[in-house]
Symmetry: C2
């Protein structure tokens, strides 16, 4: 094994802790610092010898770090931290606001090009592995239909939305793919599926004292953007049940390409994930892309990149010769 | 749409005809010639206006062709044609003798580097898409187990072996994944599975007049390398049944990665294919990699490559901006 690639993590939440765990399974990578906006004295990495540095002092790390993993959220953190950190480091992030990816890409591309860094954005599984499978399915089988289903999984954004409703003390939301819709997508009939047909939503809610259950339920199921276009079930539970049965963060889903070649043969491609803990798996993806960011930068490939720009072999710690011999 | 990429096909069997069909679904590609070892007058492409050229005259095509698709077989054709054609053209092939890939890679790499061409070898689905999924699974989730299952599918090599047995007039062989083994691989228990546990083989055989069914069955099920390590069923049928029920070439399979992150969460990744016609799908893959070969060559990336070296975006006719906006 050659000299390890030196990694730092900015943001020590679920994703940052997952990245730390993933690095511990990767002998070719070395965690050299955790970066935080909080008081560094209040942050204790799993390995307490890992230095914790305030974000204000992050420039001091430039000589020590090969790749910075940006583990903040897509809404508030990354739009600021991505461009800032890309001006100083090779970065990898899991920016996942699909509609704003072009804008975010441009905001990171400019500082990365100006400073000869490589910034791989929107890694993870969707965007990320699911995106790659959507692209490959369409490129190989141009005449057909692509379906993305998510779940059963805990949705952070929808859980947050539920918790903002008056009368809700706590709660979580699961997204469930509709088994009938998945079966039809797999069948080769290539149905057009509406939003309502594809997924259902299930909320588990703890009420505040004196809250009216009917009013809370109505406020949830009619909420624009989040719930009104879905069949939503609201189940009221107590706080103990919430803690006992809903503290995991499972997720997953499937991308299906159903298509016909010009010689009238039908084909189905599927890529599916069942994840015990969404942030842990996402962190595994981010960490694998750190190798790619480092190698692309060493090869002079600067600027913003996405998983579409990264050859699979760059994700592996193994040499091209070994990969061809053992995995091709 | 810019100027189409000019494609030629060497070898007009099942794979070559599939490539021709795939090109017809791709407005960014143009088929400019079919190359054959046979008398060109005996070969009629689906579009009869496509020129047919003898392999001896293939050098004449150099100024007309951007990428040559090598659609010959891995046993006899590609070891000769791959290095020859890579000395003159960017090439894509589906070389699939796993054990000899390093040797074949080297044999193509040298002429490609000497002549500034780009040669993408071993595309298709295994090697190819399955290989990519084995690599990505291991890179993202380093501590776990990977399983590849094939079938239900018609195996050309095993069908040929059956047909070489004395007393066999005709026949086909299907490879079937064992449902119990697939279920265990998916379950997270991470079993060690033997060859016999993973797949069964089913032969449908038409006997020659007067052949002894028991002797033929014994000769098949005890055949070294091909059948002795498997539970093999031999079913005797007549020629009409063979023609009516076994003329399709379905195939498929699944790659499963079952693994745990260091924070003790379990995850399962799966990539599966159900193919109505194996050569048609493989041809779709080969044709998509033609775009990559052309683009990598234009970018000065010469020599032999495999699917591990090709960024997914290079497979698509769409621009990076469109892909980021629509598929990421």
């Amino acid at each position: 094994m050659s000299i390890p690639i030196r990694i730092a993590i900015t943001g020590y939440g679920n994703l940052g802790r997952g990245a730390e765990a993933a690095i511990s399974q990767s002998p070719d990578l070395e965690l050299v610092a955790v970066v935080t906006r909080r008081d560094p004295a209040t942050v204790t990495p799993a390995n307490p010898e890992t230095p914790v540095v305030h974000l204000d002092d992050v420039a001091d790390l430039q000589v020590l770090v090969d790749v910075m993993l940006c583990c903040g959220g897509s809404k508030e953190d990354l739009p600021v931290q991505g461009p800032l950190l890309a001006s100083m480091f090779n970065i990898v992030d899991s920016y996942d606001t699909h509609a704003r990816i072009p804008e975010y890409f441009a905001s990171v591309d400019a500082p990365a090009r100006d400073n000869n860094t490589t910034a791989v954005i929107s890694t993870g599984w969707d965007p990320g592995l699911f995106s790659i499978n959507r692209l490959i399915g369409e490129a190989i089988l141009p005449e057909g239909a692509t379906y993305s289903f998510w779940g059963r999984g805990l949705s952070q954004g929808h859980s947050d939305a539920v918790r903002r409703v008056d009368g809700v003390a706590a709660g979580v939301q699961y997204t469930n793919p509709t088994s009938d819709a998945v079966a039809r997508a797999r069948s080769g009939e290539r149905p057009e599926l509406t939003t309502r047909e594809k997924h259902t939503r299930h909320c588990f809610v703890v009420l505040t004292d004196g809250a009216d259950a009917d009013e809370v339920e109505q406020a949830i199921v009619t909420m624009p953007d989040y719930f009104v276009d879905y069949d939503t079930t609201v189940t009221f539970i107590d706080a103990d049940t919430l803690a006992a049965e809903h503290d995991a963060m499972p997720h997953g889903g499937v991308v299906i390409r159903s298509a016909s070649t010009a010689d009238c043969h039908d084909h189905t491609m599927q890529f599916s994930l069942e994840l015990g803990h969404n942030p842990s798996f996402t962190a595994g993806v981010v960490v694998a892309y750190a190798r790619a960011a480092h190698r692309m930068n060493q090869g002079g490939d600067f600027g913003a990149k996405t998983p579409f720009d990264v050859a699979p072999g760059l994700l592996s710690p193994r040499s091209p010769e070994d990969l061809r011999r053992d995995l091709l």
